[in-house]
């Protein structure tokens, strides 16, 4: 019995020796703090390295890390990667403080890009902003789930009142149900359009151009680009074909971009 206890103690000692972290290692919290300090001291490359290590090597999937990574990338003059990180942060935790911060940062990056655009007239023609089309411009603000719920409510009211109207034998009640059905039909049409648009917009996949002067091709097989896209431009991803992404710009123009030059949140 004594020898058994001694054996267990020995194995514990060996385990402790093996698994005690070395003095030079740092925790993910320490790495995060190091990234913040680096950023505040203006060592943006170190900050970007720390935050990307947290995410890529240590699997820290916090939107805070993404926000800081985007800030560091932007400060390093890489607005495309910054916007990509902010998009990821917004998608990771919608409605959170981190997502709000990411949204504000993204707007500032776009404003800065637009401002620098004015200083480089040769880049004229692009306006940096969130991807938008007619649907997103009119219904992008709607919460798709709420819109669908409201639509289903009116839909149920419409057919419920129609069904009850058929069942009832009281004329006054039937007339009341007819009025309810007409109103519900109008509301269902309107909320149906709104819900369709909101769901459609929420399903958009938006990518970010990561490389300056990225070529947009009319066809993947084309050798001649139809447009040169600046870094940081946001476009809707319609499809992925091989090494190309079919994208649609806010202007409505469509084309193919090398998938390696696009960031997909």
């Amino acid at each position: 019995m004594k020898s058994l206890v001694q054996g267990i103690q020995g194995m514990l000692a060996i385990g402790i020796l093996f698994f005690t972290p070395s003095a030079g290692a740092e925790t993910v919290e320490e790495m995060f703090s190091r990234g913040v300090r680096s950023f505040e001291d203006g060592r943006y490359d170190e900050a970007a390295g720390a935050f990307s290590s947290l995410r890529d090597r240590f699997g820290v999937n916090s939107p805070d890390v993404l926000v800081n990574m985007g800030a560091a990338e932007f400060s390093l003059g890489r607005p495309g990667r910054a916007l990509l990180a902010f998009h990821r942060a917004m998608q990771a935790a919608p409605g959170s403080v981190a997502a709000d911060t990411a949204a504000i940062n993204a707007e500032r990056v776009r404003a800065d890009l637009n401002r620098s655009q004015g200083e480089h007239p040769e880049k004229d023609g692009f306006v940096f902003g969130r991807y938008h089309d007619a649907w997103s411009a009119t219904l992008g603000w709607l919460n798709p789930e709420a819109a669908v719920a409201v639509f289903l409510g009116f839909w149920t009211l419409l057919f419920g009142s129609l069904g009850l109207r058929r069942l009832t034998e009281r004329r006054r009640f039937a007339r009341l149900l007819s009025g309810v059905a007409v109103a519900a039909a109008v509301a269902a049409i309107l909320t149906g359009i709104a819900a369709f648009g909101a769901v459609r917009v929420s399903g958009y996949r938006v990518g970010v151009v990561l490389d300056q002067d990225t070529a947009l091709y009319g066809d993947p097989a084309s050798l001649e680009e139809s447009m040169i896209l600046p870094e940081g431009l946001e476009a809707r991803i319609l499809d992925n074909r091989g090494g190309f992404a079919r994208v649609r710009l806010s202007s409505g123009r469509e084309g193919f971009v090398s998938a390696g030059s696009m960031g997909f949140p």
Binding site: P63, A98, G163
Partner: protein, 634 residues
């Protein structure tokens, strides 16, 4: 006249004093004859009319009184084809510039050639100076001559320009305007004034009559002048000016409705057809190319169209001189500007920010003005804020006027008073022809409280534009994560009300159907119902005779009531027989049935052993009778 000069103009006009209807020459009337006739008429008519032309020479100074240091523009107009021009004697003047142009106008069926010589002179001395005679020679003879023109030249700044005289470059007559103040409208160019007395309508490009510089936005307008007695019905722009070699910003808005002007004693209505600011891309000569409009003249009953083109106008754009150019001068900063600055608050907490606003207001190439560099003391972080939306630029007669706004966030990182150095903007004043500089005063910002004077963050690219999150538990906090909408839920939500509605519809329709077809359905079901009753009676073999025969009788009567719609209760067998016959039942079957009904009556009230043994036979016979009756048509 150093800025704009007419070059080889070819004008087509009409004139005279007999009113527009009687004097309009055929070549300018479009649509009143065929083009072939018009061409033939011109070929025969032009040479004859040339012979008939007269010669004249006019010397027209822009003013009669100037001071030393000022410039004088003189236009010499020579009418008619001449062999040579002699004079004028300009020994009292320095000739600073000279340009010539020729125009041909067709007036009252006569072709008139007009040569203009524009001279820019500077007096050599004060006093009464003379511009000598100008003589024009035709075939060795003096065809026409002008008289000498006396110019009174005073000391430096001693004289004033006559009212309405256009500003000239340099000297005391062209003081620098306050920035932001529009330069007066360019005065009508001399060609219009000279030729106005002979033409009823003409189109003219107008540009400022002063030295112009490359990059400077210049207000240009194309004005259609129509005589006051010309009944203008409408104007249509045929070809707008192309203005190649310029950066053009056209002034939005419809052309004006016309304003009254007086040129050389004649009243005109001026209609602006195009206006905007143009900036020459390079120094040197640039042309305001012609614009063509169609003028509709007439009244309700008759209308004629005249096609008018402006003369090309040559503009000479200079480069700001190298001499006196400040080291920090930014190329293209031409105009008159004033820079001002201010803080939204002059006292902030350490770490908080104040907004420094720098405004550059004035007239000229405001777009060339770059973000001023802000010189701040150490410990004060300066970051610029995007402010393009605060710029207010308008195109006016001064070219482009307005203001550019630049904003900066000033964030003190320690306590103390910080001085923000003067913001200085050098520019080339296109009116004075000199480099000038505008500055702001020194501004002070006081930072109080809290700060321990932490390290000054080194300036990186846009590091203040974005924010970071300093504290985090690194959890993938979900927020209000959007889980997406399950299509099955949507489908179910849409299908359930539909199913309910369809069920209600079907139920309702069935109810209506039954209610509508109650009688026929009962008739169809009579035999089935009777057979069920007979089967039940057949199954109950031990039943007492009275009940059996009563049940059998009830089944028959029930069939008759349902199938034929009459109640057999209270009717005699004879009446039943007659009724069945009346409903089309075969007599034999009816008789058999009535006989069975009588047997039932016997069975109920006087049962016998023979009848009891014949229960099944009775049931079978009655079945046959009912089947026979069921075949009767309704």
């Amino acid at each position: 006249m150093t800025g704009s000069k007419a070059c080889s103009p070819t004008t087509l006009g009409w004139g005279g004093s007999a009113g527009w209807r009687g004097i309009l020459p055929a070549p300018t009337r479009v649509g009143t004859g065929t083009l072939q006739c018009l061409a033939a008429f011109l070929i025969l008519w032009v040479p004859l009319s040339v012979i008939a032309q007269t010669h004249a020479v006019h010397v027209i100074p822009d003013r009669k009184s100037i001071s030393m240091g000022q410039q004088l523009s003189v236009r010499v107009v020579i009418e008619g084809r001449v062999d040579a021009v002699k004079g004028p004697d300009l020994s009292d003047f320095h000739v600073l510039g000279k340009s010539t142009g020729t125009s041909i106008s067709i007036v009252n069926n006569q072709v008139n050639q007009k040569q203009t010589i524009d001279l820019t002179l500077s007096p050599r001395r004060p006093g009464d100076l003379t511009i000598g005679k100008v003589r024009v020679m035709v075939a060795g003879d003096v065809a026409a001559s002008s008289g000498p023109v006396r110019i009174q030249v005073g000391g430096q700044g001693a004289t004033k320009a006559p009212p309405g005289a256009p500003a000239r470059k340099g000297g005391a007559q062209t003081p620098s305007r306050a920035p932001g103040q529009a330069v007066p409208s360019p005065s009508p160019a001399p060609p219009a004034a000279v030729q106005a007395d002979r033409r009823k309508a003409f189109l003219q490009a107008r540009a400022p009559d002063r030295p112009l510089y490359a990059g400077e936005p210049v207000y240009v307008e194309y004005v259609l002048y129509a005589g006051a007695d010309v009944p203008v019905q409408g104007i249509r722009v045929e070809t707008p000016p192309e203005l190649k070699g310029f950066v053009v910003e056209q002034l939005a808005g419809s052309p004006d409705r016309g304003r009254q002007v007086r040129l050389q004693g004649s009243r005109y209505e001026a209609h602006v057809q195009w206006r905007g600011a143009v900036a020459a891309l390079e120094s040197g000569e640039a042309i305001l190319d012609p614009m063509t409009v169609t003028l509709f003249v007439g009244d309700f009953f008759s209308q004629r169209r005249y096609r008018l083109s402006s003369e090309p106008v040559r503009l000479d754009f200079k480069v700001p001189p190298a001499r006196g150019r400040p080291a920090d001068y930014v190329k293209g900063t031409v105009g008159r500007f004033v820079v001002s600055s201010g803080l939204d608050k002059d006292r902030v907490q350490v770490g908080d920010s104040a907004i420094l606003t720098v405004e550059v207001a004035g007239t000229g190439n405001l777009r060339a003005v770059k973000d001023p560099a802000i010189r701040a003391m150490e410990g004060l972080r300066v970051s610029s804020v995007p402010t393009a939306d605060l710029d207010e630029l308008v195109i006016d007669q001064g070219g482009i006027s307005g203001k550019r706004t630049f904003q900066y966030l000033l964030t003190p990182e320690r306590e103390g008073t910080f001085e923000i150095g003067r913001v200085s903007l050098p520019f080339f004043n296109s009116l004075s022809g000199r480099y000038e500089r505008t500055r702001t005063p020194v501004i002070r910002l006081t930072a109080v409280g809290g700060g321990t004077g932490g390290p000054t963050r080194p300036k990186g690219p846009n590091h203040d534009v974005v924010r970071i999150i300093s504290q985090s538990d690194l959890s993938p906090h979900a927020g209000s994560r959007v889980t997406g909408i399950d299509p099955l839920v949507i489908m179910a939500g849409m299908l359930l009300p539909l199913v309910f509605f369809l069920g209600a519809e079907i139920w309702s329709r069935r109810r209506d159907y039954l209610s509508r077809n109650q009688g026929s359905l009962a008739r169809r079901a009579a035999l089935r119902k009777a057979e069920k009753q007979l089967s039940r009676l057949s199954a109950s073999k031990g039943e007492d005779p009275a009940s059996f025969w009563a049940g059998l009788d009830a089944a028959v009567r029930g069939f008759l009531a349902a199938r034929f719609g009459f109640s057999a209760i209270g009717l005699t067998h004879e009446e039943i027989l007659e009724t069945l016959r009346g409903r089309g039942a075969p007599s034999e079957v009816a008789r058999d049935l009535v006989a069975e009904m009588e047997a039932c009556a016997f069975g109920r009230f006087a049962p016998s052993a023979a009848m009891e043994r014949d229960r099944e036979g009775a049931l079978q016979r009655i079945r046959e009778c009912l089947k026979g009756l069921d075949k009767v048509e309704d």
